[in-house]
Symmetry: D3
Subunit: 291 residues, 6 copies
Amino acid sequence: MAEKILNLGIPTGSLQKATVDLFEKAGFHITESQRGYVPEIDDDEIVLTCLRAQEMSRYVADGVLDAGITGYDWILENNSNVIEVAELAYSKATSKPTRWVLAVPNESSVTTPEDLRGGIIATELVHVTKKYFADRKIDVKVEFSWGATEVKARLVDAIVELTETGSSLRANNLRIVDTVVTSTTRFIANRQALTNEFKRAKIENIAILLTAAIAAQNRVGLKMNVQRKNLDAILKTLPAEKSPTISSLADSDYVAVVVIVEDKVERMLVPALKRAGASGIITYPLNKVIH
Amino acid sequence: MAEKILNLGIPTGSLQKATVDLFEKAGFHITESQRGYVPEIDDDEIVLTCLRAQEMSRYVADGVLDAGITGYDWILENNSNVIEVAELAYSKATSKPTRWVLAVPNESSVTTPEDLRGGIIATELVHVTKKYFADRKIDVKVEFSWGATEVKARLVDAIVELTETGSSLRANNLRIVDTVVTSTTRFIANRQALTNEFKRAKIENIAILLTAAIAAQNRVGLKMNVQRKNLDAILKTLPAEKSPTISSLADSDYVAVVVIVEDKVERMLVPALKRAGASGIITYPLNKVIH
Amino acid sequence: MAEKILNLGIPTGSLQKATVDLFEKAGFHITESQRGYVPEIDDDEIVLTCLRAQEMSRYVADGVLDAGITGYDWILENNSNVIEVAELAYSKATSKPTRWVLAVPNESSVTTPEDLRGGIIATELVHVTKKYFADRKIDVKVEFSWGATEVKARLVDAIVELTETGSSLRANNLRIVDTVVTSTTRFIANRQALTNEFKRAKIENIAILLTAAIAAQNRVGLKMNVQRKNLDAILKTLPAEKSPTISSLADSDYVAVVVIVEDKVERMLVPALKRAGASGIITYPLNKVIH
Amino acid sequence: MAEKILNLGIPTGSLQKATVDLFEKAGFHITESQRGYVPEIDDDEIVLTCLRAQEMSRYVADGVLDAGITGYDWILENNSNVIEVAELAYSKATSKPTRWVLAVPNESSVTTPEDLRGGIIATELVHVTKKYFADRKIDVKVEFSWGATEVKARLVDAIVELTETGSSLRANNLRIVDTVVTSTTRFIANRQALTNEFKRAKIENIAILLTAAIAAQNRVGLKMNVQRKNLDAILKTLPAEKSPTISSLADSDYVAVVVIVEDKVERMLVPALKRAGASGIITYPLNKVIH
Amino acid sequence: MAEKILNLGIPTGSLQKATVDLFEKAGFHITESQRGYVPEIDDDEIVLTCLRAQEMSRYVADGVLDAGITGYDWILENNSNVIEVAELAYSKATSKPTRWVLAVPNESSVTTPEDLRGGIIATELVHVTKKYFADRKIDVKVEFSWGATEVKARLVDAIVELTETGSSLRANNLRIVDTVVTSTTRFIANRQALTNEFKRAKIENIAILLTAAIAAQNRVGLKMNVQRKNLDAILKTLPAEKSPTISSLADSDYVAVVVIVEDKVERMLVPALKRAGASGIITYPLNKVIH
Amino acid sequence: MAEKILNLGIPTGSLQKATVDLFEKAGFHITESQRGYVPEIDDDEIVLTCLRAQEMSRYVADGVLDAGITGYDWILENNSNVIEVAELAYSKATSKPTRWVLAVPNESSVTTPEDLRGGIIATELVHVTKKYFADRKIDVKVEFSWGATEVKARLVDAIVELTETGSSLRANNLRIVDTVVTSTTRFIANRQALTNEFKRAKIENIAILLTAAIAAQNRVGLKMNVQRKNLDAILKTLPAEKSPTISSLADSDYVAVVVIVEDKVERMLVPALKRAGASGIITYPLNKVIH
């Protein structure tokens, strides 16, 4: 009988640290080996492989890996036949989708994709870019760029490049013409692996834990003591979709109310609750939240 | 109708990181821009400006800013007409007041402020120092020093300089003659801004959140299970001013007791509670505490 | 009457940061002084001394220190007459015992300790090594090595050296012949000090707090709402040795269940509880756990 | 008789490392003390004091220091009565004069100094700025700014700020209206000190060495063998103002020619000399050059 | 008439710092801009562009750049029609050619390229690898790898990867099967650019200076005084191919001998010359050497 | 016939970087391996071993190493029978001898070694310390300290510890009672190795190169043109023990004078020569100087 092992790919590069941190929050400890790229995880049923996000979906589609973490952009670029198990919004800092944009120098006369007809486009995302122009029936030459594509905007007619805040584009005096594709991080699995009972359960468990860790990241537990007579008023202050846990206290005039709220809500709620008469308000950090 | 915006100043320099951390704990995320000094906060009703603590109160008094964070020393130095909304004891490390001291070289013959009559004093805090000597009717010349004032102690007769632990004074072989002023961090507001309903509420909310975050910093939640027969004894062990939350458990012989304590109390309380028969004692971190 | 002071030694070197962090978690704040080795702790009843782990037990045995933190290996090497108050498993990273191993170059013909008869052994742990060979009636010469002992494996016949992951041995192409001694960190006390009421209580309190902080390190609090009808099923899912705290909620169909679990258990438990019908599952970090 | 000591001030801050390096090249070794600001120099006749460039000229004018290094801008600001012994162009990186510019936000309507009539100007260089506007008979209020003046450009009407490359201004979206003053580094001396024979000689020697070290920084020695018949042609290739040293070789058909050239000249000269038939061309670094 | 400008490409990545350093030694100062990739050089006739070495030859072949620095491997991979002006052995550390090797896991059964028939090869150097196997009439599938190719050696059948010291291969437990190509750094030019008089001269000058700077890197000037009677003996001690410069001294019994030698020769020569009676031996560093 | 190999030990720790730098200046390139302690040198006749200075002389005396670099203090402590080939004054920073001093807390009543009769001394240098006290017929107990000995000054009666600038002693509030031994760095050899022709020559060559590199470190070459009529005056300005090299120039009124001077002399000489009428004065760095 086959050993119970899940081959899991995690991305190197800009996502690596965030991924290791996320697994830590999910309850796994990953030891990064200094040289070579064979990190260890403290779960004997998982074997990790570190790969660039660009290649991950190819190896998951081939079945070399059972599951992996990569971006939607590269799944598309590789046209990989994989199952998306979960979308992962890593952290406050990376929770916005990234965008691949068609950009030209500020001084270029190009204002629409059509203006690039017959031109040369440099990009790392060759296939997605070709499809973007083919869909619009615009004939262009798309050339592969090995990164630092911004600098080539002045050597070719336009580039398709990743942007998060736009600051790198601004620093290179580039102007966005259009968005080619937006992308977020995905937890993907091999189709065949999901038909194996052990692997499917393992993949689902990892998805539950990663999702619960992400959910906890921007939330806090909020606890307060409320006089029974004020309870209805206080409950109306809380976000409508939340169902607080109410428990009785030794002092029967009071109840304890606990609710999980997003930190952006917390900062409005705490002053409001104080004004509404709640006492002993505390908030505390969470490791995991499952709705 | 005017847009709802609060212009808020936060200090650069030694307080900057601590301030950004404190806002993070209070529930706001500040993104420091790398160049320029225009940080962003994830609250559309707040516009941040970074200024040195030395100048903050001048801009709050003028109304260029609605509110800001600075030290009591610089409010005094600038003689600024502002309202102090809250005193902020940032963290364990910076929770002690800072002191501006009158100091001389160890080998100096000066032992009292009076010995400096006719002398020259170098300091960053020119006006406060002038007032200190004027109050004592001691005639001195006070010269502005651009920082690193310790080194000038041997070029002039005395200095008035900031000290936290005294280690910089010791390293320069200086001796303290007197304390000129002690200072802590303050959250200040413009008088006019407080008459605007939106701004007053916003300022109060920020004050509540900052104060609650600071209160949580040196406190922990402590929870334990107590047999009903031991409850009175256990409760007497707790600090008198605390009102614990007591709730019943499924096992009716026991109650759960939760109390918020300072960490300096916790380290004495935990062993005592264990000896007094409490079981399942845990302590946990807090994000905010409102008494 | 004598002042109430406990003289406590903490180790410099690889354990120093971990020790300072552990005391922080236990509720004490240690300020490391930059030069000199006289750190300060925010407890007026404790005077700290920083010493290398190698020497700690000598000074505790002599009574220069009342208590200290060191490794079992060096207690043995110094043959010190001290009381072990607690074993401290610092953190995930250092929770495995360290091993002193007898090692030779890969290409050496030595495969058993007996093969070293008449040979030279270099080690920092001279007395323990001498005893190891004497117990086996193998005559060898044991030479003191000042660290970086691996490099000497090719200059002598074998070495006895510390290993955690074995990576330093591998990097030097060494092979393990035998384990000489395994060691963990210990909190030790002077025999005489334990007869003094103040010192004994102080030492016990520190032991309780350090142990509780370590216990909390790899554990989380887990809370969930459970329908009464599912309660038995859910309770069976929990680790057998745990006694969860069950409390009633305002909604009498539900109870709140709280349990402290190890993080390695948590990651299996959370998906299982979700499948078993628990709702509102959250986990949260802990500062201290006393069973 | 008075001890032979020269009190010399060197600037802290951005110039400090460059100054220490320059003295090193000049033949002096300065040991920076880690705390306190009392560096040591390996010349028993010099006592160093580190001061901010802003204050240097005040202490030299007062005679507390005999000589010092500071910027022309701050000599002007302090209106100090000192002698400028030498102008020092530290290094390639800092050899351009710095400029204090009058700047406004890009979107400001101000285009000339006159447009600021009645406005507020923030600057570190208060007196120079006041004089600039007084000379133009423009009435403005000049306020002292504690650094990071760019950020205040939006709080007041204009700023006067230091710029080297203009990148900080661009990053803050500021526009230059006018140059208020340009400045370079100066070696200054107290008038009285120059009447003392020992001090005057010492100051002159330091000036010779610093100037010779600076001259060597951007120059190289160039040596080549030239056939006597080509000598005239080769000599015409050399910069007109240079007087090469020509020496005879054992092989009487050849002479050796040595010339000191600037490195910007060297890179044009070397290929030209090679083409003109010079052989054995080498260039080598210099420590000092005295014309 | 066209402006006199040379468009010059310099490589980013591992060669960038070495290239900037080499130009510095050659007499040019390159200021790296912090963001964006438009560095400045202190020569108004050169415009720099930073590109990855992988793409350089494509842009030089197209004429977007007049000249550039890249590796022989990538000229081959891109099959670019460019002129190689000079081979550049950057420094001691990088003076060995790099090798692209065919490698497999230590435990693989593959020992010759033929064993890979029908297999999959991952590499960054796709075209060169395809040609390597085609030349040997071995049918394989070559897949593009985005770097960190070592880790994929266990996901495919073999890799073709760059190696300098072999340490990365060892760390990944890989074994070299064959060398696919060796490569050194090249200064390349566009064919058309070399027909333009200004550009050809400029390219040649840069080549002369870079080559002279590299030649100086591992050489020293050696000077000594030799008694005429010992001259022949001393000259025989010198490397045969060197032609020393001999000049007469004021003391007619002696001559001065100067010779340029490699530093590996210097360390054998200096003791030998001392023994042979040379006096006043000094060696000194060089900036440029033209043979 | 035996292979021609010299086994050479170089010290790890504080001397390691300085040693590697010194060999670099001497003409050897040492590549430090990152893990393990087997550095490589670019001379096939030398095999390096890195050892702590404390142990070096033991392995040289035993013949495991043919030669090595260590301190005089540790040769003495180990009482090793080795030959001192050369004394090495590494650099300006480390060129002063280090001192082992007997030190006590400032507040101690001890003022002479005799006051320590019957006391305990902690030190790393056990044997030298024992001999120091035995020579004075003072009975003390000397205990081995594993470093950071300063902190133990308050746990025992006195310490014997290394001091360079005294700053560590001052930081620990210690007072020097006496100097026990002073020490400099030495190049030592095994007695037997010096009887082998190859090894003796190799050791002598290394000694010549190291010594020449050290001599060059604090010296510069100085060259100037002098009118024949001024030559005698100029020559008298030069340090008496120097023999300048004088060569004739094409212009027969002038001669070129070259002299090697210490940099401390250079800084006095250059201004003096300028005043005495020398022209075209330059100084330049040296790699090696053999007198």
